[in-house]
């Protein structure tokens, strides 16, 4: 029987949750890297025993860990995220200019195309690439040096590059998302980048249609339809049907279109999941009810998924990297909360159970489907 391995990053360490394909009984390993903030843990799609973890903290900075045995043992690899050339300046919250400064790695994306390639999205926003499994990093600086770079401004969590998506068949095409700059696309492996934010409207900007400045929280795609992109923006759930050239809103009947994560079903390219949050002022679910919403039509029409999720007195948040889908025949959906719960639905969202309830605040959830 196939196996399931859930990789959880929290404010105080990492955890590995393991089960079989039934996803009823779970073992819990951790905390790994106890006491450190683990922004992201993700395994290679080409070699699931290879897993990377971003370990950071205010005292001792950034460490990158790599495991080559499925998380049993780890080794620290290179942590030199030095900007290429003169770092330059970007806008601060108040509109003044501030030098680009590295804080942490938010997101690690092991490549779909090469076992030893992994991307790192960092704060202050930049994209780094390693082609030797983390032994060394170099910046793809054409992104940060884009003409619009000085206009980029941090979101509430910082000026972070938090999403890296690879095109499933074209290794030269990548999408990245930055809070609060927007989405950028490269078609030449990261040498040059194009902002692709047409159709986004953000009330936080004096010019709501500006080319950059949009607080994109997460984007996702399905490999069978790679030109269709889904986005959870600060406010608004959006879809692009032309590889990001234009976007239109698909928030439809959601109780709130504010939220952080968005994920696409493993086998159904038009089935999408979001977790509505009441507002940017509260950061908790509407009416204190944690509901994952599913659309089977690429957005616009949404249904609430509630069975097994707390439907009263629930004031947790689900952060942008804290939702994942597995690839079992019956697709599993996973959600981690700032209250330390990790919920699993083994039936595409119809019903949910908590795998764990009392972890530190969950920052990220990834899942591996193992043979």
């Amino acid at each position: 029987m196939a196996a399931t391995r859930v990789l959880v990053g929290t404010r105080k360490g990492a955890f590995i949750l393991a089960s079989d394909e039934r996803r009823r009984d779970w073992s819990v390993t951790g905390p790994l890297f106890a006491g450190w903030e683990i922004y992201h843990v993700k395994g290679s799609p080409l070699d699931p025993e290879r897993i990377y973890a971003s370990q950071s903290g205010g005292w001792f900075g950034q460490v990158i860990q790599r495991s080559d045995d499925g998380g049993l043992t780890w080794q620290a690899v290179d942590n030199d995220f030095r900007y290429d050339g003169v770092a330059g300046e970007h806008q601060w919250y108040d509109g003044s200019m501030r030098p680009w400064s590295f804080t942490r790695v938010w997101h690690l994306e092991p490549s779909l195309h090469d076992r030893d390639t992994v991307y790192a999205g960092v704060e202050d926003a930049a994209l780094f690439k390693s082609t030797d499994a983390g032994a060394s990093w170099s910046e793809l600086s054409g992104l940060r040096q884009h003409d619009t770079g000085p206009q980029w401004q941090p979101g509430a969590g910082g000026l972070c590059l938090h999403t890296v998506l690879e095109h499933p068949s074209d290794p030269a095409r990548l999408y990245v998302a930055i809070s609060a700059a927007g989405v950028f696309r490269t078609s030449d492996g990261g040498l040059t980048w194009q902002p692709i934010n047409k159709g986004l409207r953000s009330g936080e900007l004096p010019d709501a249609d500006r080319e950059v400045g949009h607080c994109v929280h997460r984007i996702d795609l399905h490999p069978a339809a790679p030109d269709v992109l889904y986005m959870q923006k600060h406010w608004d759930v959006m879809r692009s049907d032309d590889a990001g050239d234009s976007w239109h809103e698909v928030s439809g009947n959601l109780p709130s279109d504010f939220g952080f994560p968005i994920a696409v079903h493993a086998h159904e390219p038009r089935t999408v999941y979001v977790v509505p949050i009441r507002s940017d002022e509260t950061h908790y679910p509407p009416e204190g009810r944690l509901r994952v919403y599913r659309s089977r039509s690429g957005g616009d029409a949404w249904e609430a998924l509630t069975e097994g999720l707390p439907q009263e007195h629930c004031y947790v948040n689900v952060l942008r990297d804290a939702m994942a889908v597995d690839h079992h025949e019956s697709c599993g959906i996973y959600v981690g909360t700032t209250g330390g719960q990790v919920y699993c639905s083994p039936d595409s969202g119809d019903s949910w159970t908590a795998i764990v309830r009392d972890l530190p605040a969950v920052l990220s959830v990834e899942v591996q489907t193992l043979p």
Binding site: G35, G58, F60, Q75, A76, N79
Partner: protein, 102 residues
């Protein structure tokens, strides 16, 4: 100049990262300064690179402090000699995280 054995005390997070328990005894060639001690420490434990000093400019990270002989040496120039008792191995060079976060 002959090598000296310097005792270094690391905070728990860095002991875990370096996979050591207790003090580290470090052979250091030449003058005993913050820089030579930390260079030696990072050479022996590469996982500590960037955790005490910035990778780009080798400046002490803001929330890291250096104590020895009941003195706070955090703001001393990195190439100044450390106290003789540290150079002789009588007193440890202490790396610690600043009190922060309650």
């Amino acid at each position: 100049m002959s090598a000296s054995t310097v005792r270094v005390v690391l905070p728990g997070h860095l002991r875990a990262l370096a996979r050591v328990s207790g003090e580290v005894a470090l052979e250091v060639d030449g003058p005993i300064t913050q820089r030579t001690v930390l260079d030696g420490l990072e050479a022996r434990y590469p996982a500590l690179r960037g955790t005490i000093r910035d990778r780009a400019d080798a400046r002490r990270r803001p929330f890291v402090r250096f104590f020895a002989c009941e003195l706070d040496l955090s703001h001393e120039p990195p190439d100044d000699p450390l106290p003789e008792a540290v150079a002789r191995g009588q007193e440890p060079f202490i790396v610690l995280g600043a009190m922060a976060g309650g």
